[in-house]
Amino acid sequence: MTGPARITYREAVKQSIREALQADARVFLMGEDVGKYGGCFAVSKGLLDEFGEERIRDTPLSESTFVGAGIGAALAGMRPIVEVMTVNFSLLALDQIVNTAATLCHMSGGQFPVPVVIRMATGAGRQLAAQHSHSLEAWYAHVPGLRVVEPATIDDARGMLRAALACPDPVIIFEPISLYNLEGELTEAAAQVRLDGARVHRVGHDVTLVTYGASLWRCTAAADVLAADGIDAEIVDLRSLRPLDDATILASVRKTRRAVIVDEGWRSGSLAAEIGLRIVEQGFYDLDAPVARVCAEEVPIPYPKHLEDAALPAPERIVAAVRRLFSDAQ
Amino acid sequence: MNREELARRILELVTEIAPDVDAATVIPGIDFRDQFDFDSMDTLNFAIALHRELGVEVPEADYAKLASLDKCVGYLSPRLN
């Protein structure tokens, strides 16, 4: 691990894949356009030349089968990294993920754990319109048997794959499309990244912003605006969407006594809904204002930029939500 | 900027710093400190506001010359025109 260098999120993910391929012969990458094309988001560019066709496998457009095949190969001792181009296409593989990957170990009385890693790009922000802009983490985080993580920082993007491959259970890694170009410092911490546990991204005292993925950076923008207004926001980056790190969330909410959950999913049945209720269940007597949520508008994400921006949980909406927790007069 | 306009701008700045002061009740001849507890922090904020709004840099030594509305107008008008 070299000293702190500035790299992109995309580069961090690629380094993690290369390191995994070098470190373990059982590892191979499989997915649409991961080889010749170098990855739909150029994450695996160059890996085909370096590791060859046997370990960088372009697949036909058969999500259900190549995800099922990844599960099968994992059952038989391999450590596949299956790339489903985006969560939007994973809907075709939901049956394999939910009915096989997530269920096998329990249903077989512990005989068949499924050590497969499935990476999916997620989220909106590139005007790709409704079918290519989904944020469905809540669906996967709903299923016992899956571990679901979403790295939002360079260190996590660099370190989470290693932790996922070391895990005997199926791990879904969501990579926000809008973060691939994020640039930041890669530090030593990347080597010790854990798969679970949330992290306090910004220490604050007046309100807790609970978030994950691309929304982390919407929260930091909102926090700067709030700071000028004397409201010192603490930001909790969930990192793991299943299991959720209740302890870290509640510790923060008990300190600030106000919670706003920022989630790019649609409000109904969202992760924000789950987290909000956990806060009320465990932190009711610490709350000084109702738990608030800032989610995507409940519409298919529209194509035009101004509408897409209006649909997504923008910093201005986060600031407004926080202010409403202090007083109507504000 | 004539004297009335200057006095109005100054009062605006004073009430911005001390929101609980009613501009109409300020007596031009009496020091701010005596009318409504205008302390050293308020004076510093006032100096900063003058620099920001009117572009005048008031040295600490001249703070005494800003003690009341009349003194302010007298001190500032030659420096502005």
């Binding site: 005292h205 006594r257 007597y285 610490d286 | 001390a18 050293s40």
Partner: protein
């Protein structure tokens, strides 16, 4: 041996059935696997097999009657026990005995989709945290004015009702309560806190006079050299000095609660701010010791501005681990302040004034400042208090290093 032939469970979701026709009559012989009847179910007519060999003794249930799964429908004379049918689960036999009690339909709340607060009720609106804090501070919430969303009473409201004590024993003549804006509520809160402090905390007092001439000269030179927005007040130097002294000497920055003292790892120095309408608050400059003077000054200015606009956070009010109260402006030589529980110390600063002072055997005019300390004798004693004041003074005399 006489065996019972019961209506078998023919599907996961089949609770009962109706026999359409029998293929057997009393006296007929049957063997394992024979289809002996046809039963009408939701899915249609289904052949029913028998799993024993024997002679039909009696048809118990005639065609046409709807019967639950497991009902005895015929009696069969079987030769030997070997072929006895598997005992059906008594009582359960397919259809679960336990028909789920008709759970009362959950009352459909009249909630608006997406509405976040329930319909406004006339009950007192107070947050759970505020209710708990009010109990802890024995504050009667009924009298409070809520500043939270929808006028709800928040912890901040409760705590401001128990705001920081009036620092000096001889407060300036309080403005007539009637005229004061929020003086009334805050006045009671201050009174309550002060009497509790006097009752519970064994104060000891120390004071020292410091020649700050060099420091004031440094400050004047510094302010002349920097743009107006970066000018410093003397109080800022004092706050930093106190914070650094706290960092060096434990026992002054912390809390005494439930009978024991906890030193606070973080040092947040509260600064007493007099509100024009009367009353007083002491919000904290967070992590005071770690902040460079310019940042500290910016925080200080922001705090005072927001304090005067009534927009302080409860966290800022609850955060101080020690308080500075400075009455330099009111030309009082020395201040002997009262500690704000659960803190354990408070520093007072009088006016900086030119007075005679002996330097190298000669009496000369110098800029002098009287610093005082009120401290909790349960936690520290005079010797340590003296060292603490000395540390503050020493820091104050090296402004460049603050």
């Amino acid at each position: 041996m006489l065996s019972e032939f019961r209506l078998p469970a023919l599907g996961a979701d089949m609770d009962d059935g109706t026999i359409l026709e029998w293929h057997i009559v009393p006296g007929a012989s049957v063997k394992r696997g024979d289809v002996v009847a046809v039963v009408e179910t939701d899915k249609g007519a289904i052949d029913v097999e028998i799993f024993m060999d024997g002679i039909v003794r009696e048809i118990v249930v005639a065609p046409g009657t709807r019967i639950p799964v497991g009902t005895v429908v015929a009696l069969i004379e079987t030769e030997d026990a070997a072929a006895a049918p598997v005992a059906t689960l008594a009582g359960e036999s397919g259809g679960e005995g336990l028909t789920p009690a008709a759970a009362p339909a959950p009352a459909e709340e009249g909630r608006r989709e997406g509405g976040s607060t329930a319909a406004p009720s006339d009950r007192l609106k107070i947050s759970p945290a505020a209710r708990r804090r009010a109990r802890a501070l024995d504050v009667d919430v009924a009298a409070l004015h809520g500043t939270g969303p929808g006028g709800a009473i928040t912890v901040e409201d409760v705590e401001q009702a128990r705001a920081a004590p009036k620092p000096s024993p001889t407060p300036p003549p309080p403005p007539p309560p009637a005229g004061a804006g929020e003086g009334g509520g805050m006045r009671d809160a201050i009174a309550a806190a002060m009497s509790r402090s006097k009752r519970e905390i064994p104060h000891y007092y120390l004071s020292t006079t410091v020649d700050v001439t060099a420091t004031t000269e440094w400050l004047t030179a510094h302010n002349a050299a920097v743009p107006v927005t970066q000018r410093l007040l003397f109080a800022a130097l004092l706050v930093k000095s106190i914070a650094l002294a706290c960092r060096e000497l434990p026992g002054f920055s912390g809390f005494h609660r439930e009978g024991r003292y906890e030193d606070s790892p973080a040092v947040h120095v509260g600064v007493a701010v007099a509100l024009r309408g009367g009353g007083l608050v002491a919000p904290a400059i967070m992590d005071t010791a770690d902040k460079p003077l310019t940042t500290l000054m910016d925080d200080f200015r922001a705090l005072v501005t927001r304090a005067r606009a009534g927009r302080l956070r409860a966290s800022e009010l609850a955060a101080p681990t020690i308080i500075l109260t400075s009455l330099g402006e009111a030309s009082v030589d020395a201040v002997f302040p009262i500690i704000q529980p659960p803190q354990v110390a408070i520093v007072g600063a009088g006016a900086i004034a030119e007075r005679p002072w002996v330097v190298d055997g000669k009496v000369v005019p110098r800029q002098l400042l009287t610093l005082s300390l009120g401290a909790d004798h349960r936690v520290t004693d005079g010797r340590l208090g003296a060292q603490f004041l000395a540390r503050i003074a020493a820091r104050l005399l090296e402004p460049a290093s603050l």
